[in-house]
Symmetry: C2
Subunit: 113 residues, 2 copies
Amino acid sequence: MTEQEIKFKEKIKAIQDTMYVIGGKWKIVIILSIYNGNKRFNDIVASIPKITNRVLSKELKHLEENLLISRKVIDEYPVRIEYTLTEYCLSIDELAGPMEKWGKNHMKKISGK
Amino acid sequence: MTEQEIKFKEKIKAIQDTMYVIGGKWKIVIILSIYNGNKRFNDIVASIPKITNRVLSKELKHLEENLLISRKVIDEYPVRIEYTLTEYCLSIDELAGPMEKWGKNHMKKISGK
DNA sequence: CGGTATCCTTGACGATACTG
DNA sequence: CAGTATCGTCAAGGATACCG
């Protein structure tokens, strides 16, 4: 295997890892919602068109396992749950920004096909 | 709907569009393979571990429809097909670079959990 | 309020064989 | 050589109801 091939496989792996963590239909969207100030489960559901609570629940767990959000139980009555972005999570801004920009431009391009 | 909410929904849409075009397991990987000099179907298959020809075939069509690659029929005997990246496709470097970087760092972070 | 449980649909992806 | 056809699997995601 050449040097170039090794580098290529490393690239592949890194990109596929990224896709696993923040890919899929909802993950970045959820992060943006929390970033926008939604902290509670039902607020997040309400802020995202068409997401269901089952899906949100799973995605939140996935994000928590990947250290992107944290879940805090606030001991009131009734108990309140708050989701917040971790410091680390802010680094996905490096991805969300370019993705947003690229997507907007692309749709313009395709629609004029 | 507030100004902020409108912007949020635009962001969501743009990001989901991007995910649709270059998301999934293979798309960026295929682009990188062509970028690396593989032009012909079987070369691309061989360069990407575990991809099947059926999947590659579909993905190539998807990429062509989105103007990211072009397919040229070269009239020799036997006929030769060459896939090349479009000029436009080079813009996904804005995404692949950050994704690679982020993925590498993330795996380091998670493994040390 | 913040979820789970159950059941279901869809589409992505895969294995293998075959073809113009 | 560059695919297509056929069939199959599996996981993501969705609808709806219910629960502590």
